[in-house]
């Protein structure tokens, strides 16, 4: 069994990721898997799906900038190598979600315009807070912001999206399961590396806690915009398509109003933040509710 340092090796990443769950995939899914007709044939559902996918691209572009920027701020060789593998993971996520936009009909020449049109301003502010820490080569704040706050959020969002898509969209569920597997390594690195580093740098705690509070606020604001203005459920109901009864955190997503789903996701992510930060000795700060 590999020890902690070997676990951060390129060899471990090769055997766990490209030679395992990514084997035989194309852009994160099976070559024959396609987006379902109920998305492609309905203008409203299609636009909502493009809008949601744009947020994933924006989040992953932030993660790519952050993980690559943290490589040269890392205090040890093992962390640098791990962050190099994470950088490739994040670049892959940017690519697979961008490719999904093409599968949904976005033309290559319209990609940046589509992202600018739909990118949630609150998500952009969330990213700016993190990237400001990375630009200052603040490794402790950067890893907490990236591998615990951003990745912790992504982990729960992807889990919820996976539950919703698994019964109706095998292609996107497959893409998400690969990104969830990547996120496990990323949150593991964040907790394990910072768990020991924060003990050596207790003076960093107030700054890290303030960053978590600010990022959490903009995350909640992004969730609010995404769920409260989403027309997908109404449109599916109007078209006579029953939503799948997917279970997430013990609730049936197929019977919930968008606002209730927002509440479940927000509560899940904040509870996870509190638990993860508590384990590494950082006091969770409750954000304002947008």
């Amino acid at each position: 069994m590999a020890d902690t340092i070997d676990a951060y090796s390129i060899q471990n990443w090769l055997e766990s990721c490209p030679q395992s769950y990514l084997m035989d995939t194309e852009y994160g899914h099976g070559p024959e898997e396609k987006e379902p007709d109920f998305i492609l044939d309905n203008e409203v559902v299609l636009e909502e799906t493009i809008k949601a996918t744009v947020q994933l691209v924006v989040g992953e572009r932030c993660a790519l900038s952050a993980s690559s920027g943290l490589i040269n701020a890392a205090p040890d060789e093992a962390s640098r190598r791990f962050l190099a593998t994470q950088t490739l993971d994040e670049a892959r996520h940017v690519e697979v979600f961008t490719h999904r936009l093409y599968d949904l009909g976005v033309k290559k020449q319209d990609l940046e315009g589509t992202i600018q049109r739909y990118a949630n301003p609150n998500l952009v502010k969330f990213a700016e807070i993190l990237l400001e820490k990375v630009d200052r080569k603040d490794f402790v704040s950067g890893v907490v912001g990236q591998n615990i706050v951003l990745e912790g959020m992504a982990f729960s969002v992807f889990e919820m999206m996976h539950a919703m898509n698994e019964p109706v969209n095998a292609k996107f569920a497959h893409t998400l399961s690969g990104t969830i597997a990547d996120e496990r390594r990323h949150v593991g690195f964040g907790e394990n590396r910072i768990g020991s580093l924060i003990q050596q740098h207790p003076e960093k705690r107030p700054e890290v806690e303030q960053m978590q509070k600010e990022m959490s606020y903009f995350m909640l604001a992004t969730f609010a915009d995404a769920f409260r203005n989403n027309q997908t459920a109404n449109e599916l109901e109007a078209a006579g398509i029953e939503r799948p009864h997917s279970e997430y955190q013990g609730v049936d997503l197929g019977t919930m109003e968008p606002e209730e789903m927002e509440q479940v996701l927000a509560d899940t992510v904040l509870k996870e933040f509190k638990t993860r930060l508590g384990r590494i000795g950082i006091e969770y700060q409750t954000p304002a509710r947008p």
């Binding site: 769950y21 496990r184 390594r185 593991g188 768990g195 279970e247 590494i280």
Partner: protein, 99 residues
């Protein structure tokens, strides 16, 4: 040593650990030779066996070929966390992260 149970703990009054034959569960997030030692957690209703513990970091179920006892040290390969098995207030076993 491929079993995630890295360092079995002696527990007073207990002599022999039960053994378990592990089969593949479809978990593919680690190299092949380690796969049978992990499975996906199926949510709040998922009952754990006496040889299983949930990783609190990545929510994967870690499975050993031996019964788990309090004090055992585990390794979670999907998220690279080192864990210690503890007995919780309700008598069930849970894993805690060891940094």
């Amino acid at each position: 040593m491929v079993d995630p149970l890295q360092s079995p703990e002696e527990v007073e009054g207990r002599t022999e650990r039960r053994r378990f034959v592990l089969e593949e569960t479809g978990f593919d997030e680690v190299p092949k030779r380690y796969r049978k030692f992990y499975r996906k957690w199926r949510g709040p209703g998922d009952q754990l066996g006496p040889n299983e513990a949930i990783c609190p970091v990545c929510k994967v179920v870690i499975r050993s070929s031996r019964e788990l006892w309090p004090g055992d040290r585990l390794y979670c390969m999907p998220c690279m966390s080192r864990l210690v098995v503890v007995e919780s207030a309700d008598g069930t076993l849970e894993a805690r992260v060891s940094y």
